[in-house]
Every structure is written in structure tokens, then in C-alpha cells.
């Protein structure tokens, strides 16, 4: 038997923070690739601390629903899961290359495959592009369009910028969009000046965050100039300084993210059959079908 644990932050204040975790877990459940699928949280229940003992499977794949390698993936999650022999060096990563490490948790008799965060997996590049497709409602989006990948910046985690730049570079190499830029909230180049960095009239802004909350639903829309006051919402697209800005919140809410979770487990040796294809097919038919909503959901509350 094999189990999947999706490890996410969660919130004591904002019930929406865990929505993407539940949604991706359900998508994976529906593929039947794992005998057990469990959500686990730092700020909600089940806590990281107790999740493994709720499983019957001997093989457990833990995938952190985080954007970058750093404090949570390297210290908090392994410590709380009681992965005693854990050492960040086991990942042999410089910030974007973590794949997996196999360990034992000291309170249970199980093998734990501790995977790198979803945010740095190559498949995340596709999710960012998919996000651009779903926000514009155009499966062929790219030509004549600029793409801004937005991250928090370095004050919280030195690897956070690396993840953003990594995907930006990968998308740029594909040559699909006229321009691709990495922008940040707390460091240069700043998302406030988004229009300064693009010649293209249409710019898709994709924040590389896991869940919608304060940053993606309040800060960024106001910083970018989509709206004066986030509580009044904004249009998609919105006119800003002669550009059309397409914005739809955290990339982690994109359905295809479940695919990245699965890819992580497959890299770590999970037998997932054709679950990845299943999820991709479902996402593709959804995008082609209704052309995406093209409208941001602006009602998420602030995270803590």
C-alpha cells in the first residue's frame, strides 16, 4: 500500500487557505493512484505531527505544497514529521533541484519518501503557462503577450526568488510569449512597476503562490494598479498605463497543480499508473471547453 500526504501551511484565521490543498488532494484521490491520500498542515489539523500515524500504508510519499525550498521544507516539515535522519543535504539541491529523500519517521514503522516542494518542479512551469491560458481564456495565448511571474522576494526566504527565476527562464526558452519577466513584491524588479518592464500591450500576471490570500488578493492587485481598493474588486483584463493586465490570483489554485504533486511522487518512486495523463486530460478538456472564466475570484480573505 502507498499513501500520499500533501503537506501545506494552512491558517488559523483564513479558512480559504487550505482550499487548494483539499482540491488537489481530491483530484489525486479521484485518480485512485494512492490507497490513501491525506492533507496535513502546520496551522490546521491533521497537523504534520500526527498525520503519518493515521495511515495504514507502509510507503508514504510526502509532498510539500510550498513554492520554494527553505525554512518550511528543510526545517519545519521534516522536524514535525520526526524524520530523524533528515539533512537538507540529502536533497543535494542549490535551491531548485530537490527531488526526494527516503527516511524513517521515528514514531511509526513506515518508509517516508520526502519530496521537494511543488513550486520548484519542472512541471510547475506548465502550470504557470496553463494559468496564463485559463486567465485569458485562450489556449493558444503567447504571441504578442508578455508574462510576468511574480514572487514574494528575498526577505523571507533566499530560495524564493530562485524558484521564480527558474520558471521564468524555462518559459522564456520556450519562446512562446513575446516577453517573460520575474517580478517581486519586496525586491527589484518590483511588481509595482509591471508596465515598465513590458512592451507588449497584453501582460499576464501570474503570482507563484500556493493559496489565495492577503498577498494575491490584496497587495498585488493594488500594487499593480488593477484597483485602488482590493475590496471593490477589479476587472480581468484591467487597463493599466496603456496595457491590458490579465490577473487571476495564486497559481497554486490552478487545477493542473495536482499534476505536479503526482510528478513529485513518481520521481520518488511511487507507482501512479496513468494518473498524470488523467489529470492533464481533464484540465485540457476544461480549458478547451468553456475557455476559462477570465475573471478573478476576488473574495478571498487575508491569510495569517
Amino acid at each position: 500500500m502507498q499513501a500520499l500526504v500533501i503537506a501545506a501551511h494552512g491558517s488559523h484565521l483564513n479558512p480559504d487557505a487550505s482550499d487548494p490543498t483539499y482540491a488537489h488532494a481530491d483530484r489525486v484521490r479521484e485518480t485512485g493512484a494512492f490507497d490513501e491520500v491525506r492533507e496535513a498542515f502546520w496551522k490546521e489539523e491533521p497537523h504534520f505531527r500526527e498525520v503519518i500515524r493515521t495511515l495504514e500504508s507502509d510507503e508514504v510519499f510526502v509532498v510539500p505544497l510550498f513554492i520554494s525550498e527553505g525554512y518550511f521544507t528543510e526545517r519545519v516539515i521534516p522536524r514535525e514529521l520526526r524524520l530523524e535522519k533528515w539533512d537538507p543535504d540529502l536533497w543535494e539541491s542549490d535551491g531548485t533541484e530537490a527531488s526526494d529523500a527516503t527516511l524513517e519517521a521515528s514514531d511509526v514503522d513506515k518508509t517516508i519518501h520526502y519530496c521537494g516542494p511543488i513550486g520548484t518542479h519542472d512541471a510547475m512551469t506548465d502550470v504557470i503557462v496553463q494559468r496564463a491560458e485559463s486567465v485569458t481564456g485562450d489556449p493558444g495565448v503567447g504571441e504578442g503577450v508578455g508574462l510576468a511571474v511574480v514572487g514574494h522576494g528575498t526577505d523571507r526566504n533566499e530560495n524564493s526568488a530562485k524558484a521564480i527565476e527558474y520558471h521564468t527562464e524555462r518559459i522564456r526558452e520556450r519562446g512562446r510569449f513575446d516577453e517573460v519577466r520575474a517580478l517581486f513584491m519586496d525586491e527589484e524588479p518590483e511588481v509595482d512597476d509591471v508596465t515598465d518592464y513590458f512592451e507588449s500591450e497584453d501582460v499576464v500576471v501570474v503570482p507563484l503562490f500556493i493559496a489565495d490570500g492577503y498577498h494575491t488578493q490584496e497587495d498585488i492587485p493594488e500594487d499593480v494598479g488593477l484597483t485602488e481598493d482590493y475590496t471593490t474588486g477589479w476587472d480581468v483584463p484591467a487597463e493599466v498605463d496603456g496595457h491590458r493586465i490579465w490577473y487571476a490570483g495564486a497559481v497554486g489554485t490552478e487545477e493542473l497543480t495536482a499534476d505536479v504533486v503526482l510528478e513529485r511522487t513518481a520521481d520518488a518512486g511511487a507507482d501512479i499508473g496513468d494518473a498524470v495523463d488523467e489529470i492533464r486530460a481533464r484540465v485540457r478538456s476544461a480549458t478547451d471547453g468553456d475557455g476559462g472564466s477570465g475573471r478573478a475570484d476576488t473574495n478571498a480573505g487575508a491569510g495569517d
Binding site: 488559523h12 479558512p15 491525506r38 489539523e45 491533521p46 497537523h47 500526527e50 498525520v51 493515521t54 495504514e56
Partner: protein
């Protein structure tokens, strides 16, 4: 209840494989003179296969009971199986069957009693399952019963489970919102009656008005996992004497980042914290963690059915706040209050702490926490900046 031949076949096959099969009072052994079959009330020896089948047909409850547990549920030694057996008062992991039949021994707060516990032998259990066996798990009421009809996909002796709020135990099903997907439990558990987010799943604020019916054993466990995560696993560990408790000191010392400060919380503040957060009125878990391995807290841990093995994330987050607040020095203030006003301050704090604010009637000016009384006190005693006119007294 008719007994299908499949159950007899499966049992026969298992006995052939095992040589000697014992389960819930049923014993089936294969020896040199044929089959030996025993229940607490009957016994046969030297049976040939045809005789064995006839004998098994005579004890259908034992046969379908074996089939249900060994084939439908499975998972020997798992928390899931133990929990489902607890639901129907079946003995767990070889615990003794208590046939004294002393009524309903197992209601809230009876962890000790549960251990000694009134379990039911197969015939009594089958009798009870026809009407449904009720159990309480926090604010959840679980009914284990037989399926209403035996159909193609409903094997004889197959159990199903109904799940609802304890407050709805006597409510007609038609008056409740009916669900069958265990994942719905996540949504039900998210908000309290007033629409406020419930970050602590075991807070006694679960809304009522819903029902899951006809759940399989696996679905019941899944739903409970969503309502009260990890409670079954820790309950099971506790029953087996394997609960690993992490006390306050260890938990606090392990924290890093912004929670690094929680280990500075003074011992007496930990006491107040446990009293404030871990009481039955705030959390249905029974606090088993102490200040340290050999240093128990005086605060009562509560009577909950399922143990709390370590301070939860909510308590750790609150502890951070208190650690910071407790680092402040105490000072002496002087302020003018009448005796009644002093009493009123106490009434206000009590009302907020007990969550009583909404119950205070608009015109009940006898209650110190009445809104008009509070507004009057503020109008009288606060200065223009909105602060109490208190003066710090120099030493």
C-alpha cells in the same frame, strides 16, 4: 437472516488454510477426525464437510460476523478496525468480553470504564445491531446497524453506519441534510453556528442539522478523520498503551522561527494556558500532555473520549503571544472605581471568557456585562483617548 453459501465457503477455505481459526467466540479447527466447530453455546466434533456446512448454517451470526470482520473490514490490528469494533461494542484485540450487560457503560468521560468495558458477544451484538448500536465520539453520534435489506451487493451481516451530531440523535432523518460523501465533513466542520471559522477541529462548536447515512466502515472512518483528524489513531494507541505524549517543555523547545520564544513562557503561565484552552468547554480532546515528563500541571485535562498527545498549533501560537506578554514587568496602577464598577470589570472578563456575550439580554442592566452597562462605564471612566484613567504608581 439467511446465510449465503459464499460466507460458508470463505470460512471453510480459511479454516483449511489456517488449520485452526478462532474469531469472536467462533472456533473452527481441522484435525485428524474431521472438523471441530465451537461457539460459547455449542460445539461439534468429527464433522465431515457436509456436516460442517450444516453446522455452520445453524450458527449464521458467527459465520457472517467472521465474514464481515475478516473480509469486508480486514486490517487486523489497525486503528480503523479497532474503532469500528468499538462502534458495535465488539471486543477489541483480544480484550475480554464483558457479558454483565450493565446498561450503557460507555458514555462520555468514562475512559477507564471503557477499558474494563461492557463489550457484547456475537449473539447479543447481533440482537443489538438490528435496532442499531449508538456511540458518541466528541459531538458525533454514530449508529452501527445491519443494512436494511440483503441485496446483491448487500451481504448478510454487513454493517452500515449513520453519523450525525449528538444533538440530532433523536431528530427525524427527514429533517436533517443528508450526505453520503465523507468529504462533505470538511465543509460541515469549517464554520460554527455563527459562521465563524473553526481553526480547532475539536472545539465543541460543531454545527448540527446534517446526517450521513448508510456509510461503509471505510467511509465512516474517513468522515471522522475529517471531523476530528487523528483522533482514532491516538485513541487506538492509548488503548494499546502506546500513546506517545510530548509534554510542554519538549514541544516548546523544539520550536524555531517566530515560535522560538514559546519556551520562555513561565511554568505558571503554562498552567493558566492549559486551564484557558484545554478545558472541556473549549476542546473535546482530553489533555494528556503535562509541563514535563515528571511534572504534572494542576489544570484538569478534561474528560474527552480522545487524548491530546501534544500542545496543538493553536495553543503554540497563543503561547507565543503569552510568552511575549509575560516578559513585561508588572506595575502598579491607581484608578478610581466604585466597588460595583470593580465587580463589573470582573463580570465583563467572565462574560467574554465564557463566550456569554450573546446571551445577555438587551435590557438586563443587572448583568455587569450588559452592553449599556459597559458603554456607561466607558463613557464615565475613559478619557478622550479612549483609555482608562489609570495612573502608574511609582515605587
Amino acid at each position: 437472516m439467511s446465510l449465503t453459501t459464499t460466507a460458508v465457503d470463505a470460512l471453510h477455505e480459511a479454516a483449511e488454510a489456517d488449520g485452526d481459526l478462532t474469531f469472536d467466540g467462533l472456533r473452527l479447527a481441522v484435525d485428524d477426525d474431521g472438523y471441530r466447530l465451537e461457539t460459547p453455546a455449542s460445539g461439534w466434533a468429527g464433522l465431515d464437510e457436509a456436516e460442517l456446512r450444516d453446522a455452520l448454517e445453524a450458527i449464521p451470526a458467527y459465520v457472517t460476523n467472521w465474514r464481515y470482520w475478516r473480509r469486508s473490514i480486514g486490517g487486523e490490528g489497525t486503528a480503523r478496525q479497532a474503532f469500528l469494533r468499538w462502534c458495535e461494542r465488539a471486543p477489541i484485540d483480544g480484550e475480554a468480553t464483558d457479558r454483565s450487560g450493565d446498561g450503557d457503560p460507555d458514555e462520555r468521560g468514562s475512559a477507564d470504564r471503557e477499558k474494563t468495558g461492557a463489550t457484547l458477544a456475537v449473539p447479543d451484538r447481533y440482537e443489538a445491531l438490528r435496532g442499531g448500536i449508538d456511540r458518541e465520539w466528541g459531538q458525533l453520534s454514530i449508529t452501527a446497524r445491519f443494512v436494511d435489506s440483503d441485496g446483491a451487493d448487500r451481504l448478510p451481516g454487513e454493517r452500515v453506519y449513520d453519523l450525525r451530531h449528538v444533538d440530532d440523535a433523536d431528530t427525524d432523518l427527514a429533517d436533517l441534510d443528508a450526505y453520503d460523501d465523507p468529504r462533505t465533513a470538511r465543509e460541515i466542520a469549517t464554520y460554527d453556528e455563527d459562521g465563524r471559522y473553526r481553526p480547532l477541529k475539536t472545539a465543541p462548536t460543531l454545527v448540527s442539522g446534517w446526517a450521513f447515512t448508510d456509510l461503509s466502515g471505510a467511509e465512516l472512518v474517513e468522515a471522522i478523520e475529517f471531523f476530528y483528524p487523528a483522533t482514532i489513531a491516538n485513541w487506538h494507541r492509548e488503548r494499546r498503551g502506546e500513546l506517545d505524549v510530548d509534554h510542554w517543555r519538549g514541544t516548546a523547545e523544539r520550536q524555531t522561527g517566530i515560535y522560538d520564544v514559546v519556551d520562555e513562557l513561565p511554568r505558571e503561565a503554562v498552567e493558566w494556558m492549559a486551564e484557558a484552552c484545554c478545558a472541556d468547554s473549549q476542546c473535546l480532546r482530553r489533555r494528556e500532555w503535562q509541563y514535563d515528563e515528571d511534572d504534572d500541571l494542576d489544570a484538569d485535562g478534561g474528560d474527552g473520549r480522545f487524548p491530546c498527545r501534544e500542545p496543538c498549533s493553536l495553543v503554540v501560537a497563543a503561547a507565543r503571544k503569552w510568552a511575549i506578554l509575560e516578559s513585561e514587568a508588572e506595575r502598579t496602577y491607581e484608578l478610581e472605581l466604585t466597588m460595583s464598577e470593580l465587580n463589573q470589570l470582573e463580570a465583563l472578563i467572565d462574560a467574554v471568557a465564557d463566550g456569554r456575550i450573546d446571551e445577555i439580554r438587551e435590557a438586563d442592566v443587572n448583568d455587569g456585562a450588559n452592553r449599556y452597562r459597559a458603554r456607561y462605564l466607558r463613557a464615565k471612566r475613559f478619557d478622550d483617548e479612549g483609555s482608562l484613567r489609570a495612573r502608574e504608581v511609582d515605587d
